[in-house]
Amino acid sequence: MSVAMSETLTNNEYTDDLRYEVFNREFMPHIDSMYNFAFRLTMDEDDANDLVQDTYLKAFRFISSFEQGTNAKAWLFRILKNSFINDYRKKSKEPSKVDYQEVETTYNSEEASDTTYTVDLRADAVQELIGDEVANALNALPVDFRTVIILCDIEGFTYEEMAKILDIPIGTVRSRLHRARNLLKEKLKSYASSMGYDA
């Protein structure tokens, strides 16, 4: 292994050894997060397997465009999300038939523009829910809303990282997240009510 392989190298100076080195050191540690993201996007184990494999093989092939020292996890998530949109979205088994565009339009419209929109849900009711119930509520959201919640609340990306992963402005990240959380609260409320908790 080359001694000189460190942060001083710029992106085009990848030797073969360095490609493997960077792949193992920077990319492989994120494979569990990637797998979970893939599964929550596709809602299907086989598709998730394929999506993770495709993403990692693409990442290896295009490793020279990964700039060392930058956020590898965000870079990988962006590839995975693009692969999902291009290759899997059409055939993915969406639990909700609601078209995302339609939902976004509804929530963007004047009367729903966040003014007094609150979901009446108690924190104690949420506390009673088990992980599977929270996951089911999340999975019931349209995929684009699901995605921002996964990226922010489960994976802990910053708004700026999310903007890069999703190719949208930060303002859109904020507002989409806000709407996604309102939708999630509605789902959680119906779960909590159906479980007999005082929501």
């Binding site: 494979i31 993770v52 003014t115 929270v134 997240l177």
Partner: protein, 96 residues
């Protein structure tokens, strides 16, 4: 501080300030609350939060709820390990 003349105890002073039962700008407060919990708040938002959040019941409840949901997503939702065979396939393909 308007200390009461007869019993200037700390607790009584706090109790004298009535808590807000309704929040007239709750939508804006929700944005601040979420920004705070996401660690994305601006300095102005942090100041506003610090100065006001203990005075408004709807905002206190919303903060609790938002935090509880965020914590549930982080801590309760199951994270599966990537199946070993996927790992093996990836490694064998890049090494071939």
């Amino acid at each position: 501080m308007n200390a009461s003349s007869n019993t200037p105890s700390v607790t009584e002073e706090v109790q004298q300030k009535p808590m807000k039962q309704n929040c007239e700008h709750h939508a804006d407060c929700m944005k601040i609350i979420q920004a705070i919990l996401d660690d994305e708040a601006t300095d102005a938002e942090k100041d506003h939060f610090r100065d006001n959040m203990d005075k408004c019941i709807p905002c206190i409840e919303s903060y609790r709820l938002e935090k509880c949901i965020k914590d549930s997503l982080q801590l309760k939702v199951e994270k599966k390990p990537c199946p070993q065979n996927i790992l093996n396939t990836i490694l064998s393909k890049i090494n071939s």
